[in-house]
């Protein structure tokens, strides 16, 4: 009997933890988007005409292949973060892509069709300088890798090293360029800044130094930024200070000085302070580069030049032009130029004559080199294609590029040229903007796809309820407005009812209209106009802030980007804090989000106020913040327009209120004595608490100093403002209540020791009351090391650390209880708490490292809590909080069983059915955001990192929703059957009664 009960208990328990999705539920409530980040190198696979591969290597250490027809990822390799996985170079040859990773640590060859690894070699130490293909007689067989002090040659086929040579005088000479014109030698160019250029020639076969010479160049600082090799081995440099270009033939034996060509003699002038940039192209690695090159004279001025027997002649002047790129297809090389659309290309008389002469030249020559030029502007740009060797504009090659008014300016241009059937050159371009949008365009300006790569680096996010539908809002609005007379109110009511009727008819008509269309065509396109809250508030607007300063509004149901806004002038290391000042609940006032951006360098902050639903910038005047802002505080107070009050604390501990109307200031004066805030200065190890005074100045009321010599504050967390706790206590086995210590002002502060030796390192956790500064609890975990991830919610704190002694990850949970009696059940004041809480703690072993930790959140807090654990493998684990309960007994007793406590076991299992994202791994998960939905059972989850993943979790299963596979047909048929059976039997009974009465 007992045994069978126990098995029943266990099976019930297993049942209630099973949370995996069924096969037909895949992608029903969840979606994932994969990103690659800011593109560093992009190469189009021009191997075959039908190829649609685009290879990209990014700043996020990702090497990926994008389908250039759709913009989808074909495959993606995510390398280590930081300098270890940094991609230094990407070279493509045929089907193989060569990648140098980690400052020249590893050389890899990838097969580009399926993304498989061909081979990998570990290179010698030394900082990476350059890499190039080395070709001999039209065949590319080797790749040369130039390090600071060594040059090595590897076979392309298997990565084996052919030879490695130490560089002569490598401590004084900076070798920066490796070059091979396909003529059987490897040329190495080095520089001694402000002195001379060193040229070393190696034999391909054995690495023997054939020749070595130096050329005086007192003006030079760096080869990489100012020199290129053009034509058949001519080194070409441009210099700002002397306003001239220099040429030097690398092959010639007799030349000892560089030829100086003054830019003035060409009629050119460099924009003041602009370092001229040279762009050359080498269509085939086994052949010398072209003798045509582009010189950038200013931010929006390029010129196409040709080097002919040490003479430079301009081919075409592109002014204004923002971006220029070369592309080669077959035997033809073109230049794409982006220029502003509404200004025509201004051609001054001198270039005009060149243009004419080059026209004649191209008529006489068979092989046409084309050049493509692009122009940029505020609204639209046009991209044109020019023959590279003549500068002649190719007809019908214009692509109009419409700039997103809320986006950034184009920053990079990649051209994919191909030969059309009639042997003319066609092309597509990929433009990367400052706001990291990749757009792929084809003629005459159709955007084939766009990718929002800024989303690869989400910093913070919020979820905002969608507005009610227009009709609902209309009805709500009627009550929101002020009353103005009986008749007006009646009319208003009538008109709003009319609108409701109209909307309903429209809806019916749409239903009828859609019903006639085939099913595949009826798509619920989510647009900003059709946005409305659903029945259970499961669809929300995700407002995401990215590190590049671009804001996104994403529909949580489908993942569609509904709006985006690029904030210019955001410094790369800014800190962001996003706050929802007004929700959608206060119609007709629009919802309002405020983003605080603080520039780390200057300390100055700015406020951006916008509508989170439509992404429009608000016209509300924001306070001028002349002093550096330390922290902000969103009060539950509201002004007369229902906007929550935001307090900004500057470095003199003065407070600025936003909005700062008279009403708000009055409320603040009334409430001042009960408004507290705390600041944590990690550098000085100081936690300080302040109280607001009536004149909006502050007074320091407590201070806790953590000695910085021994430990460093790594994190502090209060409770979430929108968290509700339904149950004030826990029911014990004997049916008494253990009341929770629910201090809303409690802070969890985590410190790590500065000493990282495994014997002395420790992790400290302090629970501090943020109002009084009282240390409620203090725990030190010896022989433990960070990074510490922790969650603070309800009456518990869960933290994860690395145990250096046992070499494993451990979870520890702290739970606080007030005892068997509540001290004060009506109000909570930190100032009136005589008894300290009881603290319980337990630790567990977790069999995996973790990347992030978050707790689920539901509307009323009735549903049991789960912890969402982001694992480095890309899985997101939904771990029941039940397993992390310090009251788990070592030996199960009658009472603990009554309480549903699981007997203590040190290991926390990882069950694969707890992975809420099944096989949809989220790479490099950085944060998890949870938001309650309108259903108590359901919590919305967004995981962000490199990828975005959105899903729903049901910690206590869907107790308030009928299941997906609920048998409506069976139930309704049974009901109908019973109904008819009742009717029939009633009739029969009547007949029988009548018969009996007759007898």
């Amino acid at each position: 009997m007992g045994w069978s009960l126990a098995t029943l208990f266990v099976s019930l328990r297993l049942l209630c933890f099973t949370a995996a999705v069924f096969e037909d539920q895949v992608g029903k409530f969840d979606w994932r988007q994969q990103f690659v980040g800011e593109v560093r190198f992009a190469v189009f696979d021009t191997n075959s005409q039908a190829s649609k591969k685009l290879l990209v290597a990014t700043e996020k250490n990702i090497f990926a292949s994008i389908n250039s027809r759709t913009g989808d990822l074909l495959w993606r390799h995510v390398d280590k973060t930081g300098p270890e996985g940094h991609i230094d170079m990407l070279l493509l040859h045929g089907q193989d892509a060569l990648v140098v990773v980690g400052n020249g640590r590893i050389l890899r060859s990838w097969e580009t069709t399926i993304g498989g690894l061909n081979w990998e070699t570990v290179l010698d130490t030394g900082s990476f300088q350059s890499a190039a293909f080395i070709g001999v007689q039209d065949l590319v067989k080797y790749v040369a890798v130039l390090k600071k002090s060594a040059l090595s040659l590897h076979y392309l086929s298997n990565g084996h090293q052919k030879w490695v040579e130490n560089l002569p005088e490598s401590n004084t000479v900076q070798y920066q360029i490796v070059y091979s014109g396909g003529s059987g030698q490897v040329l190495l160019l080095g520089v001694v800044p402000n002195s001379h250029i060193v040229i070393v020639e190696y034999n391909i076969e054995d690495g023997e130094i054939m020749r070595q010479k130096s050329v005086a160049a007192p003006w030079i600082t760096s080869l990489q930024s100012s020199c290129v090799v053009v034509g058949s081995g001519v080194l070409l440099c441009a210099d700002l200070t002397t306003q001239s270009m220099y040429t030097f033939s690398l092959q010639s034996v007799e030349q000892t000085n560089m030829n100086q060509i003054l830019l003035q003699t060409l009629g050119l002038e460099v924009a003041s302070g602009f370092q001229p940039v040279l762009i050359s192209t080498q269509p085939h690695p086994a052949r010398p580069p072209l003798s045509e090159f582009v010189l950038q004279l200013g931010p929006d001025h390029h010129i196409l030049l040709q080097l002919n027997d040490e003479l430079i002649s301009p081919l075409r002047d592109f002014n204004p032009s923002f971006l220029v790129a070369f592309a080669t297809t077959g035997e033809k090389t073109v230049t794409a130029v982006m220029s502003p659309k509404n200004t025509t290309v201004s051609v001054d008389p001198s270039t005009c004559s060149y243009f004419l002469s080059s026209l004649q030249f191209s008529l006489s020559s068979n092989v046409g080199y084309n050049v493509v030029v692009l122009y940029l502007d505020a609204k639209a740009c046009s991209i044109n294609l020019y023959s590279a060797d003549t500068g002649r504009r190719l007809l019908d090659t214009t692509i109009i590029y419409h700039k997103d008014p809320n986006g950034g300016r184009p920053a990079k241009l990649y051209v994919h040229a191909f030969l059309k059937k009639d042997d003319s050159v066609g092309y597509r371009v990929m433009v990367q903007n400052e706001d990291l949008v990749l757009s792929f365009l084809q003629q005459p300006g159709r955007v084939v796809w766009t990718r929002e790569e800024a989303l690869a680096d989400v910093v913070t996010m919020e979820m905002v309820d969608l507005p009610l539908t227009g009709t609902q809002a209309e009805l709500e609005g009627e009550f929101g407005k002020k009353a103005d007379g009986l008749l007006a109110m009646v009319l208003k009511r009538l008109s709003s009812q009319l609108i409701v009727l109209q909307a309903w008819l429209g809806h019916l008509w749409k239903l009828f209209y859609d019903a006639r269309k085939p099913r595949s065509q009826v798509k619920n396109e989510v647009t900003i106009e059709t946005l409305s809250r659903d029945e259970f508030n499961l669809q929300k607007m995700m407002v995401m802030v990215t590190a590049s300063g671009k804001l996104f509004g994403i529909d949580s149901k489908s993942g569609t980007i509904l709006w985006s806004q690029y904030l210019e002038n955001v410094q790369p290391n800014s800190v962001f804090k996003l706050m929802v000042q007004r929700t959608t609940a206060h119609f007709p006032h629009p919802p309002q989000c405020t983003l605080l951006i603080k520039d780390k360098n200057t300390g100055l902050a700015s406020l951006n106020v916008f509508n989170p639903i439509f992404g429009k910038k608000s016209h509300i005047g924001v306070p001028a913040l002349s002093r550096p802002v330390l922290q902000s505080l969103l009060l539950p107070l509201m002004d007369q327009d229902y906007a929550k009050v935001l307090l900004l604390i500057d470095d003199q501990y003065k407070v600025t209120a936003f909005p700062s109307t008279k009403n708000v200031l009055q409320q603040l004066q009334e409430m001042a004595s009960s408004i507290f805030f705390y600041l944590v200065d990690s550098n000085q190890g100081r936690l300080s608490g302040f109280r607001l005074r009536k004149d909006l100045s502050t007074e320091l009321i407590w201070e806790v100093v953590v000695p910085v010599e021994t430990q460093k504050i790594v994190g502090v967390k209060g409770k979430r403002a929108n968290e509700h706790v339904h149950s004030q206590g826990r029911v014990m086995g004997d049916r008494s209540v253990l009341y929770k210590y629910l201090n809303p002002n409690l802070l969890a502060v985590v410190t790590e020791s500065t000493d990282t030796h495994q014997e002395h390192s420790f992790v400290g956790i302090f629970l501090i009351d943020g109002v009084t500064g009282r240390i409620v609890h203090e725990a030190v975990q010896r022989k433990a090391r960070g990074p510490v991830h922790f969650v603070h919610s309800e009456n518990w704190v869960v933290y994860v650390y690395w145990n250096t002694k046992s070499r494993r990850n451990e979870f520890s949970v702290l739970e606080l209880f007030e005892g068997m009696e509540l001290y004060n059940s009506t109000v909570f004041s930190s100032l009136d708490r005589p008894q300290p809480p009881q603290v319980l703690q337990q630790s567990y072993i977790f069999p995996s490292p973790i990347s992030t930790l978050e707790a689920t959140l539901t509307e009323k807090g009735i549903t049991s809590r789960h912890l969402l654990v982001g694992l480095p493998s890309g899985a997101i684990l939904s771990l029941p909080k039940m397993f992390l309960d310090p009251r788990r007994p070592e030996v199960a007793s009658e009472q603990s069983r009554e309480e549903n406590l699981i007997p203590y076991s040190p290991e926390i299992p990882i069950r694969t059915e707890w992975f809420i994202n099944y096989n949809q791994s989220v790479s490099r998960v950085k944060g998890i955001y949870t938001s309650p939905s309108g259903l108590e059972s359901t919590c919305l989850v967004v995981a962000y990192g490199l990828d975005l993943y959105q899903t729903r979790v049901y910690p206590s299963k869907q107790f308030d929703v009928l299941k997906d596979d609920y048998d409506y047909v069976l139930i309704s048929s049974v009901l109908l059957g019973l109904f008819f059976a009742t009717m029939i039997s009633k009739r029969l009974a009547e007949v029988k009664l009548l018969n009996r009465a007759w007898r």
Partner: protein
């Protein structure tokens, strides 16, 4: 359809009227009683004033009074007599919360309550007794004991909201008096 039960000997006579469509009886008395008489006594005619039922003896006898008393005590003691039985059922059903113990507890609780509700009807029954008030009191006490037993059973099953945990869901979260916020220096 069965006719008022006549013994076997009446078969032939009963068959007679059945065969005829109608019959006329010229004797006095109702047609219903006629059948009875016919069955019992055949066609014998009784003299006027004769009644075949015995006239009850209306004089009260001492033994009858004792019987009434006894009967009334039976009624009054009924609930008390049930208590041992209820105790046994309680013991057998155990304290687990499942459908059968719940049903039993409901029955146990409902019966005394029902009895107490219909107290006036019981008093009417006991009207004839001389110890009416004492019997009524005993009856009441018996029922109260029965319901007390049911309540005790509920208590031991944990169905009564007597613990603080039963009122936990109604505790409102306390109102916070201080507003606090802040964080790491940005």
């Amino acid at each position: 359809m069965s006719s008022p039960g006549g013994p076997g000997g009446a078969l032939s006579t009963r068959g007679g009227p059945k065969r005829n469509k109608w019959a006329l009886e010229l004797s006095l008395g109702s047609t219903r009683s006629r059948g009875d008489r016919q069955n019992k006594e055949g066609d014998v005619m009784y003299p006027v004033g004769y009644s075949d039922k015995p006239v009850p003896d209306t004089s009260v006898q001492e033994t009858d009074r004792n019987l009434v008393e006894k009967r009334c005590w039976d009624v009054a003691l009924g609930p008390l007599k049930q208590i041992p039985m209820n105790l046994f059922i309680m013991y057998m059903s155990g304290n687990t919360i499942s459908i059968f113990p719940i049903m039993m507890v409901c029955m146990m609780a409902w019966r005394p309550i029902q009895a107490l509700m219909s107290m006036s009807a019981t008093f009417k029954l006991l009207e004839s007794s001389s110890q009416q008030w004492l019997q009524g009191l005993v009856y009441l006490i018996g029922n109260l004991l029965g319901s007390a037993l049911a309540i005790y059973k509920c208590q031991s099953m944990g169905l009564l909201p007597t613990h603080s945990s039963d009122w936990l869901a109604f505790i409102e979260p306390p109102q916070r008096l201080e507003i606090m916020g802040g964080g790491m220096v940005l």
